[in-house]
Subunit: 338 residues, 4 copies
Amino acid sequence: MIIVMSPTATQKEIEHVIARVTGAGLKVHLSEGKIRTIIGLIGEKKMMAQLPLEALAGVEKTISVTAGYKLVSSEFKNEDTVIDIGGVLVGAQNLVIMAGPCAVESRAQLLESARIVKEAGAQFLRGGAYKPRTSPYSFQGLEEKGLEMLAEARAVTGLKVVTEVVDIQSVSVVSAYADVLQIGARNMQNFQLLKAVGKSGMPVLLKRGIAATINEWLHAAEYIMSEGNYNVMFCERGIRTFEDYTRNTLDLSAVAALKNISHLPVIVDPSHGTGLWKLVRPMAKAAIAGGADGLMIEVHPNPAEALSDGNQSLTPENFHMLMNEVGTVASAVGRRMA
Amino acid sequence: MIIVMSPTATQKEIEHVIARVTGAGLKVHLSEGKIRTIIGLIGEKKMMAQLPLEALAGVEKTISVTAGYKLVSSEFKNEDTVIDIGGVLVGAQNLVIMAGPCAVESRAQLLESARIVKEAGAQFLRGGAYKPRTSPYSFQGLEEKGLEMLAEARAVTGLKVVTEVVDIQSVSVVSAYADVLQIGARNMQNFQLLKAVGKSGMPVLLKRGIAATINEWLHAAEYIMSEGNYNVMFCERGIRTFEDYTRNTLDLSAVAALKNISHLPVIVDPSHGTGLWKLVRPMAKAAIAGGADGLMIEVHPNPAEALSDGNQSLTPENFHMLMNEVGTVASAVGRRMA
Amino acid sequence: MIIVMSPTATQKEIEHVIARVTGAGLKVHLSEGKIRTIIGLIGEKKMMAQLPLEALAGVEKTISVTAGYKLVSSEFKNEDTVIDIGGVLVGAQNLVIMAGPCAVESRAQLLESARIVKEAGAQFLRGGAYKPRTSPYSFQGLEEKGLEMLAEARAVTGLKVVTEVVDIQSVSVVSAYADVLQIGARNMQNFQLLKAVGKSGMPVLLKRGIAATINEWLHAAEYIMSEGNYNVMFCERGIRTFEDYTRNTLDLSAVAALKNISHLPVIVDPSHGTGLWKLVRPMAKAAIAGGADGLMIEVHPNPAEALSDGNQSLTPENFHMLMNEVGTVASAVGRRMA
Amino acid sequence: MIIVMSPTATQKEIEHVIARVTGAGLKVHLSEGKIRTIIGLIGEKKMMAQLPLEALAGVEKTISVTAGYKLVSSEFKNEDTVIDIGGVLVGAQNLVIMAGPCAVESRAQLLESARIVKEAGAQFLRGGAYKPRTSPYSFQGLEEKGLEMLAEARAVTGLKVVTEVVDIQSVSVVSAYADVLQIGARNMQNFQLLKAVGKSGMPVLLKRGIAATINEWLHAAEYIMSEGNYNVMFCERGIRTFEDYTRNTLDLSAVAALKNISHLPVIVDPSHGTGLWKLVRPMAKAAIAGGADGLMIEVHPNPAEALSDGNQSLTPENFHMLMNEVGTVASAVGRRMA
């Protein structure tokens, strides 16, 4: 951390700042310019984080030089993480495809969806049993009954199950049915929940918060990993910007950024990322060409009958086309469809 | 809701859309322009929300005409809500001032803070016992011990206590010690938590999510009210924008907007809203002049020693100045300091 | 356009609104719901745009049903536009690559850059002779001398030249030297300049404004086209969001969106779009996989010596790698490197 | 400026960076931490700005310590600037009120507007003769005829005239009629225009760009001042965010920020800032309470007949109320209506 003193800071103020930080066990590196004095701090990041330095007299601002995370960083582990989920590898050469309806609506709808996505080549079935909805009057999910249907679909098709967990109470019940716990965008900074899924030891798909910086996202993963659970996947699903043609702005540069900063796998969800089914196929291809390790795609046997997000769901036909097209792009960047 | 058909929609597609919505029990109002057909829907909003109309062939887009909330709306209740919290009225002519440290750090710090803010004229003591923090390595709060200290400070000073609740588990323990449950920005769409505080019957201070639209915020309040708890206050605390000089962009126009749309009281937190103590006083005055019912202000006996957010906390001297200045502005807009 | 009347609107207010719009020559379509009356307008868009309907008593809001542009729309021209620039086709099966330094710095630097990008397979040389810079104290470009160097580089290599025009005065001088006029992000809504390049008849590369919606971007192109100049290319170069790891957020979904809405070609600039040379190659591949018709890439013989944007420029070696990788991805989506 | 080297930077890379910056005439201050080496640069900011340091091998990032502007800064001039515009002082104790229609529509409309705002106490008449509009099909202004009407209204009422200049060509004609040149939001980074109004010597009202940071805004003012024209006023008019209830998000904290950073006066435009006439009065009061030196308000004799922005214009009655209310708030913060 660097402390930039104000041009009007007095010698006494500078000395007080130095006394304060050395008193906290940190070392100091002083640089006196013509206009300003700059004080570099050397020592434990954690200690620096707890000093309210900008409140000291004469301090203009402080600047962080290093990141606040550690376990997620490729400086800490310089080899890409591959997560083995019952034999399906995430982060290896083969892409992983997670597909299915937004919400579990009925046994018939889910089994039909599972059959379709399995046949098209997906390895994971997605489907929400607990649905966070903006309005209290919208469909909120089938809850444990939905989990049972997901487990049945897995038994029938062999697909792995990824589904959202929305509170601490349901971590154990969702863990009993699912292969991967999904943390939704609205819960990316629900730190109690992050700690709970960290303790569960289950593989976690961590969606990016709708207004989360990459830096905050990395810290959210650090919460999970600091509980000893290293099986974390990022999922880019679009951020909120001023643009309103798309539901969100899918930030594919975040994929390339994460690949530089971290060793963890990155999945892309172009369905939520765009909110428009016509944009899902081109963005799925773009995601893979840009380095993503897999995709999460909403597919519905009949989008026009869906209870949730039908506008962004692909028909089975469109999903088949997507799988073929993505497979071709995958080969062009040294990846493979399983 | 209005369905805008594509200019290339066929007669058959139009008929299919009509059949679909009338089949769901809605009435239809047809308007055939030279270029496009437009279909108006009349009936239950809830029913419309569950139809994935944009997935139907020939549909270009759908447009919501009416809001999805009800209980929060001034159309539903056209008289401003005044909440009585142990004799302190929120939303009445008198302003309410909630002040104190960001986090409860120690008994001494809290009692000293309480004494200071009480003396300066505040009615509520704020202070976090459970602290959501971006990094798992930052100070996370004193938890129940912090709540005990808050209760002691109340006993000594007579101040009411407002403090954050971060998960469902702690709703009952926080309710046992606090007068108002605060929902933090990161939890504004933690719907399980909203339902839980709704069921608790406790007065709730609902902070705006960092990237929440006013519309989503109103729906979040609707979650609480739809559980039968009508004691909800909004708290504007800044939104995330591209501007990085301030920590957040304090959106005071949201105050005026809420006063038009809703009957619930609105509090403003210029400390988190700006992140810079030098901006707190001017923005506090602006908030009151713009129609806010009260303020939430971070005050610390010694900001330079604070464990959290010291950079935005006021010293006791600055808080005194703020109270005097705000009092003068309050008179200018027909309000009063208590 | 649709007028949504307030639930409290009186019959008289409704009649006044109707009188006002029919008085302006528009037809009206009335829909009376249980709670609200909705008035649909039929007629000339232009006329509607000039009525301040929301200021009429009883009006809650107005909703636009159709877009305000025409010539840019694929409803107007349902066949993709291919622009022939001295024999190089933009928008056809072959991708176009525009590459070169951010700024023209010297004759030697530019000729060396031109040689490098030509050899690697580019068709266009980019390079700024007029440079809009945030600070008045930064390097502002070589102006006409820079244009002469660009023309010399074209004579030597056969590359076409694309360069920015920053004001009306220089449209004619830039047109004398360049093959394509670039409108920079800061000038996307400099309407006088848009009209001037429209009148010039020159091919125009229209960069997206840093906070421009897709809708505003389409209207900016409409300004150029409404002067009779149909040779317009869009260039996505990143938008401003809260994310600060990247310089901008490259919005690749805008490419897919434009391909749905418009018939004009779309180029992507991942150099400005990310601001980080390490992210340029993955995002270039993503752009092509997502449907872009070409790329604009910053290449510098020696980025560490560049006077502008060295941090996002590729070395010759990296640009060669990009060209190879993009070529492979192009084949996977039915496109070709020239 | 500070250069943060990567943890994996070699000794040779560090030496190369040092050689590069010392070769450019800068001094270096070295700080070797356990993990990283940090290099502080001392010398001319301008020189640093031209070095593409992040492109050098081993460099992780660079951090600016000081601002790139000078003349606008209160470090450069620590006394508030008061601009004398024909006897009306801007930035002094008296507030200035600029009011009038969005666009000059006709002689009758303008003279009537001028009379109304004069009578209510305004000192400036606003009104656009050149109108930048998103769509080429919207009303574009009366141009020089509009300027003549503004001058006539001045002759009749004694009001000063503030009106927008949209390109270099019209700087001289607008200067011939107006007292203050307004730079609109879309032109805040039209650097050619900034230089031209700088050279004109006329007082300039510099509106904030719709997505401009405070830092960029300060630099835009620096462009004008670096031409020797020190008569610059800022005008906050809302920024673009995700919120869509309001047309823009009026950033009142920018007023307080500018008052800390700069010595120049700050005006607030709540009409464009909110886009909703119902929010104009509360936000006008908030602006003054927060420290603004004046207001720019859209007033129309009959908003329902306006050709532009009628939805955000005040009626004469509402403007009178605003003036009274703002006068009361002004007194509460030590200011006065003239």
